[in-house]
């Protein structure tokens, strides 16, 4: 009974709103063209009013809610090529070249955790433990909500701390890693995909994305 009530109440409210909006639009916007047909401008105006009315009904967020995770799209050739050449440099033990290349990728795809993983490993190889750990922590902050990545980073941090001789801190990191249960399905569903590169979320492109999808992801959680 409660359930039905809730349902009816919701639907009734939505219906009333829609009807009201339509009525209002019809009243306010008398077609401006002489032949009585609505011009495109009329339609745009009506849509605007309808949109505003609808926004007032649902609590439009003042600040968009942060997504649970931001997953980077791995479809960019430039990034793949550079990561491959960084890998090759690493295999040859040429850490400096690897770092140069990785920083180049970082400028193209600054939110890709993989870059920070590789970068941290170069610093670890150079025995710069403090920087290695901080780069890995940056990776953690970018990989929020991506269990597989997070576990990889925490295991690396454990390794860095172990090598630097801080065994207690290393165990802590390892514990954090062990707490992360990997469930890849969840990540994909929650992911707010940001394609590589700065430009992919430009005004025009971004505007065409459905708004709901970009900011109300928490509702799916």
């Amino acid at each position: 009974m409660t359930l039905l009530n809730t349902l009816y109440w919701h639907q009734a409210r939505r219906l009333t709103c829609l009807t009201l909006i339509l009525l209002v639009s019809a009243c306010v916007f008398k077609p401006s063209s002489p032949n009585g047909l609505a011009t495109p401008a009329d339609i745009a105006k009506a849509k605007l009013i309808a949109g505003l009315a609808e926004q007032a009904q649902i609590n439009k967020p003042i600040v968009p809610v942060s997504p649970a995770t931001i997953e980077v799209d791995l479809q960019n050739d430039a990034v793949t090529i550079l990561l491959d050449s960084a890998k090759a440099a690493l295999l040859q033990g040429d850490l400096k070249s690897a770092q140069t290349i990785l920083q180049r990728v970082q400028r193209i795809a600054p939110r890709d955790p993989n870059i920070y993983y590789k970068l941290a490993s170069t610093h670890l190889d150079m025995k710069d433990y403090k920087l290695a750990e901080n780069v890995a922590l940056k990776g953690v902050s970018l990989a929020q909500g991506q269990d597989f990545q997070l576990r990889k980073f925490w295991l690396m941090i454990a390794d860095i701390r172990m090598q630097s001789g801080d065994i207690i801190a290393a165990e802590k990191a390892e514990h954090t890693a062990s707490q992360i249960l990997i469930s890849p399905v969840k990540t994909i569903h929650l992911a707010y995909r940001i394609p590589h590169g700065y430009g992919t979320l430009t005004k025009s492109r971004h505007a065409s994305l459905p708004k709901q999808r970009s900011f109300d992801l928490r509702l799916y959680a």
Binding site: T2, N59, I62, S66, D77, A78, Q103, H206
Partner: protein
Amino acid sequence: MKYLYAQFQSLKFATKLSLAFLLLVSLGLIYTDYHIRQQFEGKRWAVPAKVYARPLELYVGSPLSSNDLKVELTRLGYQFVPKVVKPGQANISKTKTIIYTRGFKFTDSLEKAQRITIHYSGNQLTKITQSQSEDLSLIRLEPVLIGGIYPLNNEDRELIQLNEAPDAFIQALIAIEDRGFYEHNGISLRGISRAMLANLKAGRFIQGGSTLTQQLIKNFYLTSERTLARKLLEIPMALLLESHYSKADILEAYLNEVYLGQEGARAIHGFGLAAQYYFAQPLSELKLPHLALLAGLVKGPSYYDPRRQPKRAEKRRNLVLKVLYEQDAIDIFQYDSARLAPLGVVQQTSLSKGAYPAYLDLVRRQLRQDYPDEELSSEGLRIFTNLNPIAQNKAETALTKTISSLEKTHGKSIKGLQGGMIVTDPQTGEVIAVIGGRQTRYRGFNRALDTQRPIGSLVKPAVYLTAIEQGYNLVTELDDSPFELDMPNGTTWQPENFDLKSRDYVQLHQALAHSYNLSTARLGMSLGLDNVIDTLKRLGVERPLAPYPSLLLGAQGLSPLEVAKMYQTMASNGFQMPLRAIRRVTDSTGDELSRYPFELEQTIDNNSIHLLQYMLQETTRAGTARSIYDSMPEDINVAGKTGTSDLQRDSWFAGFAGNRLAVVWLGQDNNMPLPITGSSGALRAWTSYMVNETLEPFIAATPEDVEYLWIDQQTGMLSDKGCFGAQQLPFLSGNSPTERSECGIRKKNDAMPAVDRWINRLFE
């Protein structure tokens, strides 16, 4: 007999004398010879360090409009032509651009010169194709040369090799300056006699009859006085030089040595630099009339200065062309079209070198920590920086236009308004643009680095971050009523809100978004000044800060650069980073000497900073900076804070999107009060810059220990999605409000857990 003896004696004396003379001459020659060889073979010139902008990366998906690309190519001195056939040419249209790149040897790899076609739609690059092979994924354009670091004598030059000089140019130079260059041994008797004749006719010394070799000797080894002694020394030296070195060696040295112009204190030497200075192009890409003009300039760079004396310069150029035609080096068609061509000299203000004095200033300061001046100005080092000419261009336009429009609106009271600006990449800490004042090419006081002006409310995020770290949450109620504080020096501190009103209670997030002073001051005092100072330090403020209560409202003076560093930490989820202008330094051959890698240190907890980021977004969405969204698209999240100092002497805004962080300061150099606030001044410049950038929204994933809860805006109590006036706010786990609003209670009771999920699924 006696006579004979005397004669013998005098002969002996003469022989002795001539022997001694010969010995002296030989010694002199040997010394001169040694001197010549040493200088010719050693390091010939003090070559200033070259400073480069970042190279533009082109890849599928990169943010790039045809306009942006045009700015970059113009800065690089590309010619826009209908048909692209050689390096340095481009053809831009709406949907694609054809570029013949010049290629560049980077430290990590060589980018070869190639003809590519770039396709884009809107502000995004969609494809790179090349005629011979399949699509390219990634290429780098050569970097723009933005300046040099000069030696004390202010000689600037860009060394070139002989093969970089077009044949037509060598022909022109030899035709006009030294026709017999390839035949003579360093001096030309015909040339000297012609000159003597001319001197006799004129009755004074007007012509030197110098060969190129002699001119080189004169500039390279001797002073510039026109004396006979110098002339006498010049001849044996020229002969010696020719005996040791080939014509090609001598010509190459000449091309690099010769003086060709003056820009302020900077002396333009060599044709490599002259080509850039007059035509903004490499020598190898110049056309016949340009080359003829350069060859003609040797005779008198200031008399024939094509910028100041275009008529004289044109006459001189046409003379060179005429000589070439008479020697059959060019045909009548070439002669005619070159003769009628415009001079083609670019305006000094469009040159890339010298266009970014404020950025170069920052580069120089960062370099001086590692390199002595002497090394910077003489070793031909190459310095690769993070300057982004496209972003710098947009920032300059935004700042200068805002200043002029403010002057128009407010009239006299704001005349002479100045400003400074810094733009960085919040993800990497790289400084991509610096503006030192409204005259952006002026090499003077650098306001982005050297003004230390009270930052006003820009300091507040540090207070609220401290509060979050001490267990406050976003809806904690703060007291916003007036108060007085007796200071140790006997005065009374009596802060006021900007609107001169006070409120009994405000929620913490609203106090920051609306920048209330009373609640902030009260909050800061209860948190403890030392704790706020500690937060400021962790945010990246390095200078010592005195624990005065006025610190809480931003009495402390900082430079825009220092503010940028502080906000950088907020933008990058609590990681403090050095703001880097330089990527790497290499020697003249491209081998790396030092690098300035990506460095960072987490100084603020990820969860706490997330809450602060929320409040800074509320500031731009609904607080003091909400005017941003009058022109910013709704879906571009930005965060930031306005700042206005006491009596409105300074107008500040600091804020960031996902890929750009910018700090703007506006004020008078004489510290006069302004009719503008942070919102009505600096924020306008900031917004006008940002909306013209290709922006990525600021988005941070929700950290592990943060949860978003529905809150009733009025009361700050827990509410529900369906309740009127409910908003989702972030809370640290275990630190959320416990009281529930009336509607919130009803909703909670209404919904059975399983049913709730089912309903949700229905509606989403």
